[in-house]
Amino acid sequence: MSESLGLLPALPLLGFLILALSGGKLPKTVVALVGAGSIGLAFLVALNLALPIIADDSLIVRETLYTWMAVGSFEAQFGLTLDGLSTVMILVITGVGFLIHLYSTGFMADDPSYSRFFAIMNLFVASMLILVLADNLLLLYLGWEGVGLCSYLLIGFWYVDPKNGYAARKAFVTTRVGDTSMALGLLLLFTQLGSLDIQELMQAAVANWSVGSGLAIAATLLLLGGAVGKSAQLPLQTWLPDAMAGPTPISALIHAATMVTAGVYLVARTHVLFELAPSVQLLVACIGLATLLLAGFTAMTQHDIKRILAYSTISQIGYMFLGLGVGAWSASVFHLMTHAFFKALLFLAAGTVILSLHHEHDIFKMGGKRRQLPIAFASFLIGSLALAAFPFTSGYFSKDEILLAALEFETYGTWLWLGGVIGAVLTGFYSFRLVFVVFFGGSNGHHDAREVTGFSMAAPLFVLMLLALVGGFLTQPTAAVFGAHGQAGEHTVSAALHAVMIAAPLLGMLASYLVYGIGLIAPDTILRSGVARGLHTFWFSGWGFDWVYQRVFVAPFLWLARLNKHDIFDSVVSLLVRLTETANELLARSQTGSLRWYVLSVVGGMVVVLLATDLGGLL
């Protein structure tokens, strides 16, 4: 039983090795079989491992494969641990991952780099599994960097277009800022507490640090930096919308369902530390709230179907951070799971729309597509209902838990709750704006497009539709991990407040119906006023973050690089090189190859020596 824990990341890794070492020479059917099959097998292994833990959530499976490194007193094991939290993660990663791999076999069918695509996808799943199964923070960091690398490779998958390469670099460099902060956090934890093993670390932290101590605040702030970078939260959120340059299944798997939620996982995994630093925890909640509002406003103004979904992802992860900040660990992980279902569904459906409409991304060039793209329409409808937290869909339960926990939070609870509710109105608006603009009204182009479908692309959509609808009824075995404290108990909230929470997304939907559904208030009428147009431009640019970063960080850095183009410090060394070269040239000129010249110089030398000694004798 415990032997198969190592098998879990090994299966996708094996798939990666087969695909990578074959050098793209395998036929496509074999590639699809290896690529999707390895993840399917991993899902079966994960299910087999998860069942006992779902039955008894205090069960923890441990397996140490080997000693990874040992330096002095420091020893890192290649050790895997499976507890309730990891169980949720591995099921989401392998389950949703398998569906997306299956979808990709159809979506990428005409791509010449089919094999490379699946090789990196498999490597990604292997890294992600190592990330969530690691029993020490160093191994977690290995997986963390591994998924970052795969994200970079896949955003720049269509590398022929320089824009995609730029987006990939932007994502890599921006997340690197967070990763550096996280690495510093690991160093601080190790020097202060003498271990990186997560269990030992948590016990040592509780034993040595008091609540609110400076070290706890510093360590959690550094870890939070890593989480913020990976999960595209304020202020490092700018990379995610550009990351949509990659193929759509990538956006579904990496930039919606799994990798971007790694930050949430990290905070949940080290929640003991965060409980020791209440001020940082409040900061987590504030970051989440600010991000979810900012991304929600931005999503309302975007034209690109994938950018809308990207901002919506940032916004939903903002909800998860809000949940983490108010100590609703379990609710956040629950929202992570349901979000993986409905956002993967939305992205895959967006992939179908884009592929069917010959790579059209602009929603205002679609319109009235519900008859032409019935499966995509059903997916979008269900996905958007779940995203907007329509009652009894999966998103409703998880978002409800987070908002209720926010309301009961002692510091600024009401304000956090209010922000979350406003965010819910925004979510309802932008998600149904997308549905109304793309699928209703008159056709604005691609009149004769036909839906690209087939088993491999339709089946995952149907499974995800089902999960997005009923995923809220799944129970998750995280009670033992988070203790009674982080568990969602019975909430005592007045019916009026609860009605407000249910009404909020409906209000947003109604507003988008009035504007985009029946055109009662045309968007152009609103944009006629200067303030609205200014706000629209401001929100459309993502609140000007790219503009500011370009001027504050990128431009000075490029200026420095240009200044030092010829490497000022290197010139000292190259001076020495040039001196030697000159001396060599001079001496080489004396080697004429003429034997008589050599004899003459020997004799000349002899004469000089004889004269000198004779003169010496005479003097």
Partner: protein, 102 residues
């Protein structure tokens, strides 16, 4: 047997050495260069013999025998090299054989 004065012997040796040296420096034909080298070697041998006779010592003649052996060996190697050079480059002009320049 009247002794030849030391100065005369040394002067002859010096003259021979100078002739050989000038030959080495000015001749372009490699065979003549080798011959000039032989003259230089023999001038050194002559100087040893003259000096040995002047000091009534056998060591001068011993040294000459050694120089003779050395010269024989040198000629053997030198002529071998010359024949190889001629076979390969079809010339004995040392100015032409100047591939080894810096």
């Amino acid at each position: 047997m009247s002794l030849i004065p030391l100065e005369h012997g040394i002067a002859l040796a010096g003259l021979l050495f100078a002739i050989g040296l000038v030959g080495v420096m000015t001749r372009r034909n490699i065979v003549f260069v080798l011959m000039s080298l032989e003259i230089m070697l023999n001038s050194a041998g002559l100087a040893f013999v003259v000096a040995g006779a002047h000091h009534a010592s056998a060591e001068g003649q011993v040294m000459f025998l050694m120089i003779l052996t050395l010269a024989a060996a040198e000629v053997a190697v030198g002529l071998g090299l010359i024949i190889q050079l001629y076979r390969r480059f079809k010339t004995t002009d040392i100015e032409v054989l100047s591939a080894l320049k810096g």
